[in-house]
């Protein structure tokens, strides 16, 4: 029985989770203009992949990430500014989609926390030094 199961497991086809369409034309092809490509690349490195969360779309092999790269390159080639494309994505997926989150009600603590810790540390250090000298 166990041998039969093993044999079945070996011949079983993996579940298909990807389409068999080839990647979109601009997913893995650089733009001819190096300046535009540099802008597109910089943007892609700060856009989070929706499927393989934790990678940027520049790093990901997921099909949706490829389609997102193609979208970014098409729009850059059409003359759109990278920040406009980022805003378009944030409008659809929220700040979650960008690795460069905008400063707002939810994220201010990210920027404020280091300064706050520094101030607390200085206060603690000052009071303990003063006590030692006295």
């Amino acid at each position: 029985m166990r041998r039969l199961l093993l044999a079945l497991a070996l011949v079983a086809a993996p579940v298909l989770a990807d389409s068999d369409l080839p990647p979109a034309p601009l997913a893995d092809t650089q733009l001819p203009d190096p300046k535009q490509e540099a802008r597109a690349q910089a943007l892609m490195e700060t856009i989070r992949c929706l499927v393989c969360q934790g990678q940027s779309i520049a790093d990901s092999n997921a099909e949706l990430a490829g389609d997102m790269r193609a979208m970014v390159r098409q729009r850059i080639a059409a003359g759109e500014r990278p920040e406009a494309i980022r805003a378009w994505l944030i409008q659809r997926y929220g700040s979650w989609v960008t690795y460069d989150p905008p400063l707002d009600r939810v994220t201010w603590l990210l920027w404020a926390a280091p300064v706050m810790f520094l101030v607390v540390g200085l206060l603690v250090a000052r009071s303990s030094f003063r006590r030692r000298r006295a």
């Binding site: 369409l21 949706l64 389609d67 409008q91 997926y93 979650w96 009071s127």
Partner: protein
Amino acid sequence: MTGYAKWAPLVAFILLGSALTYGLAKPETTNIQSKMVGASVPSFTLPPATAGLPGLASSDLTTGQPHLLNIFASWCVPCAAEAPQLKAIADAGVPIVGIAIRDRPEALQRFLARNGNAFRAIGADDASQVQMALGSSGVPESFVIDGKGRILQQVIGPINSQDVAGLVAAVKAAR
């Protein structure tokens, strides 16, 4: 620093540590809700995804009749699993339109023949462009859309049998 004050840094450290531990231990939700819920369907025109069914344009969703928009693909296993539920929703009188992501006409034809066809129209989104415009991040996903083309609700993942009645009611209430 005297008395209780000297414990303040330790207390602060423990509080911060607990907050970070909680953040790490809490299972992160992997569903990305579309921020387009409440907004109008973005403008799009998609060619027919398979022979025998028309394609889909955003203007088809502003006819005064509410729709269920299903984003799916023939290569997506959970999409096959939700097909009977879509059929039940269509049988209850809800018009269902589809967007097929990165699909081939023949593959889609086989998918519909095997799992049944609940769709009035299916548009082919070969590079996921309309999917992105809708703020959708995977297949299957479904959107409840009112007669003016406004997105009222997003369902992430397959529709289960216990969701059918609620969705039918939601679309019927969306006039």
